[in-house]
Structure formats: C-alpha cells, structure tokens
C-alpha cells in the first residue's frame, strides 16, 4: 500500500462528503432549479381514429398506466372541444390535463366574444402544433400524441400532433402501439370502403380495440368513443366494455 494510484478506493462512498450533507444528482448543469425534459409518468396508450361517410370516429381506452402498473382504471382521454371538434390524447395524462385546461380556456374566451364564430378543427390542430413545437424547442415537451377529429365546412377532418410538433392529416390515424397493430387493419378497411356508415365504423373500431387489448400490455377492455357527424354533432360514448376470450390461456 505504499503507492496509492488514482484508482484508489475512496474511504467513504455514497455518504456525506466532508463539509457537505449529500450530493443530489442531476443539477450540476444548472437548469435554474427547474427540471426539464421529464419523462411521462401516468400514461395512456393508443388512440385510434378513422374517417367515415359523413363523419369521424376516434377511440381510446380508459387506463392510466404508471409504468407497468395499471393504476387508474377509469380515465377519460377523449374531450369534447366544441360542437364540431373532439380531441383525443395518448401519453402523459398530466400533460393532457394541462392542455385540456388551455383548450377549455380558449373555448370560454371565444364564447365570451359571442360573435357566432367557433374554433374549427384545423385551427385547433394548427394551434396545438405550435404549442407542442414551442415546448420541444425549450426542451420541455408535452409528452403526448394528440388526435384531432372534427367537421370543417361539413367535411370530415382527422389529424394528429406529437410531442415534437410533427403534424399531419390522414383518413386513418393511430398513435402508440396502435400505429403498428391498428393502422394496417384500419387502412385495409378504409381502402375497401372509404364511404362506410357510422355503424360500420363503430363495429370496426370495436374489433380494432379488441386486437389492441389482446396484444398491448398497457391496454384495458373498456374504452370511450368520440363520434362526430353532421346530424348528431359530437357524441362521447362509453365506457364500452370489450369482450375477450382467454380460454386457451388458462392451463
């Protein structure tokens, strides 16, 4: 032990260093006491959506996951924005609640103007894209994938925004694991019949939610439907319970 090299074992490890109580990790770069770019905590899984003959329909289950723990079993992830727009969210639920309160305030302020105009789905989509891009540029993203559905000039509109502000519109949209498992089923159905009725669309989403429930470990057999049509305006249906057959899984 005559020579103590630079790799010598410290005498006192993981405890208070002389003259200090404890080294807290993570603030050596000085973010001004504000922790940026967090990770999602309570999360919702996929949102799926499709256009049909004279409307749009989206679906999201009611589970709020805490990592692998199925923590909240009755969360609504689809919100009615106004009489021609709905918003569905996957990802961090707290961030969704934050955005939801912004949107509700926007709607209220607009109502107060009382000029007969209301926010259109394209405008909401554009605004959300700017909000998400702004937060990602400050390295403090809202950890969500939003799906915006609505009727714009009586035409169906379906679009999405992610946490970077990547935005696009498509007749078929699925977020999260749904992008891998639901999109092929939905796209095939849409290519075969792009003018499906509301009843056909509801039945299709039931089947797709079933597929997701069987394979997505963070999913739940209860879901909400957000439907928007010219005749009935916005309808939020649910919670709808999925049938599943796990017979072969029981030994």
């Amino acid at each position: 032990m005559a020579f103590i090299g630079k790799d010598a074992v410290p005498l006192w490890h993981n405890g208070p260093s002389p003259g200090a109580f404890y080294h807290f990790p993570g603030n050596q770069y000085g973010t001004g006491g504000f922790q940026k770019s967090q990770s999602p905590i309570t999360t919702g899984t996929s949102v799926i959506g499709i256009k049909f003959k004279d409307g749009v329909i989206i679906a999201a289950d009611v589970l709020g996951s805490y990592g692998s723990l199925a923590r909240y079993r009755n969360l609504e992830r689809i919100m009615k924005v106004n009489d021609n727009t709905i918003l569905g969210a996957s990802g961090d639920y707290a961030d969704f609640q934050c955005i939801k309160s912004y949107v509700e305030r926007k709607i209220l302020e607009e109502k107060c103007l009382d000029d007969g105009f209301s926010l259109k789905p394209k405008a909401l989509h554009c605004w959300l894209t700017r909000v998400m891009y702004n937060r990602r540029s400050n390295f403090d993203p809202f950890w969500n994938n939003f799906v915006i559905a609505g009727l714009e000039d009586e035409k169906p509109f379906l679009a999405t925004v992610d946490k970077l502000g990547t935005a696009y519109s498509d007749p078929v949209i699925a977020t999260g694991y749904g992008a891998y498992m639901a999109t092929p089923v939905l796209r095939k159905a849409y290519e075969e019949n792009s003018e499906m009725s509301k009843e056909e669309a509801i039945e299709l989403l039931y089947k797709v939610m079933q597929v997701l429930f069987y394979r997505d470990a963070r999913s739940f057999p209860k879901y909400h439907l957000g439907i928007i049509t010219k005749e009935k305006g916005v309808e939020i249906q649910g919670p709808i319970t999925l049938d599943s057959y796990w017979g072969p899984a029981i030994l």
Binding site: V9, H13, N14, S39, I41, S137, G165, A167, Y168, Y180
Partner: protein, 236 residues
C-alpha cells in the same frame, strides 16, 4: 466477485430502484423524403415524394412536401417534419410581408438569400431540413438553390436532396450533366425530358430507399405559372 470487479472501484453497485425511468428526449426526428429539381432555359421542374415516415413506420402516404412561396418560386423540404412546418410557415409570412411592403412579389434569388439567412439565424439549434428552392430568375431562366441545414447555399441547374439525395445526385450528374460520358454532345434539357427523367429517378430511389415511395408530386414552373401533376410509386 464478478460484481466487485465489474464496478471497478471495489464496492457493490447501488440498488436499481424501480420507479419512473428517465427517457431521453431528442428534439429532432428523421421523417425522410426526397426532393429533386431540374432547371431548363425557360422552366424549372421540382418534385418530391409524398411519404412521411419515421423509422420503420409510415405516418401518411400523401404528404405534400412542395411549398409554393410565390408565382415563380417553390420550396421543396425533407428531413425533420416539425422543423419543415415551422420554417415554411415563417417563410410564407415573410413573403407576404415583403409583398405588402414593396407592392411586388419577391424574386427567386431574393427568396434564396432570405432562406439562407433564416437557416443560419438558427445556427446553434438548426432546422434539420434539407431544402431545395426552385424558380425562375429575373431573366425568366430556370434556377435552383440547394441548402444544408445551417444555411450554406449553392446555385445549380440540377439537384437531388433528402433521404435519397446521395443515391440520386450521381445519376443526375450522368444523365443531366453528361458527366463521365465520352463522345456525347450535351442536348438542351426540354420539359418532357426533365419530367421523364424525374419519374425514372424517383422510381429507382423507391426501390432502394425505404424513406422514399408512395408517390411524387411534380410542379413545373414557367412564366405562365405553375403546373401540377403527380405520379405513383411503389407503396411498400
């Protein structure tokens, strides 16, 4: 004992605590896409594929990546889609401000210089976009400007950019620039030939580049205005 040596410092590692995991955040994503532009004596043609993707999944098969900035200028963008959306929005706002201030539309060379400045303005947090600007110059001649993400700008007569850029540029060098050929007399590029080469070039790119496919939208700029057309590519 393996644990002791593994840690390197001769003590046991800390316990892995279950709970919230830190997820790394990157403000950029690669959404693919290719743009090709060819300039002739009195026209300019620019095309971009319509696939928007990330990794192995396709977001949409019908995303237009050509943005008309004026009657004689079109910008083709590929790369990080969220940056493309922001950049083009800012650009069209500045084009409109110029128009109202000067009572005329911005020329293509002026727009090209503005774009370069706007890109360099974000030098240390760049727009991750590969831009190709096509249009007609003051004399009505076709011109193309190509950029890197931080604003380097070069004027050319033909250019391929985006995910299949490196794949297509040598092909254009050979077919449009008559490079590495012996005993040929360069012919003047016609509109028909330009469009035919464009279609071939994209068909080839779709075979080898998974981020290029689904279809292309083509815009031909002449002094009479902009003509639109489209062409299908393989969708797998």
């Amino acid at each position: 004992m393996a644990l002791l040596t593994e840690n390197g410092k001769g003590c046991l590692p800390d316990y892995e605590v279950q709970g919230a995991k830190k997820v790394s955040f990157s403000p950029y994503s690669d959404n693919g896409g290719s743009v090709v532009a060819l300039a002739g004596d009195d026209f300019c043609v620019i095309a971009a594929d319509t696939r928007l993707s990330t990794g192995f999944s396709i977001y949409t098969r019908e995303q237009d990546k050509l943005f008309p900035l004026s009657n004689t200028t079109i910008l083709g963008c590929s790369g990080c889609w969220c940056d493309t959306l922001t950049l083009t929005r800012l650009l069209s706002a500045r084009m409109q401000m110029y128009k109202h201030e000067h009572q005329k539309e911005m020329t293509t060379p002026a727009a090209a210089q503005m774009l370069s400045i706007m890109l360099y303005h974000k030098r240390f947090f760049p727009y991750y976009v590969s831009n190709i600007l096509a249009g007609l110059d003051e004399n009505g001649k076709g011109c193309i400007y190509s950029y890197d993400p931080i604003g380097h700008c070069e004027k050319t007569t033909y250019r391929a950019g985006g995910s299949a850029g490196a794949l297509l540029q040598p092909l254009l060098d050979n077919q449009i620039g008559y490079k590495n050929q012996e005993g040929v007399t360069p012919a003047v590029l016609t509109q028909e030939k330009a469009v035919a080469i464009l279609k071939d070039v994209f068909t080839s790119a779709a075979e080898r580049d998974i981020y290029t496919g689904d279809g292309i939208s083509i815009k031909i700029i002449t002094k009479d205005g902009i003509k639109d057309s489209s062409f299908a590519l393989r969708k797998d």
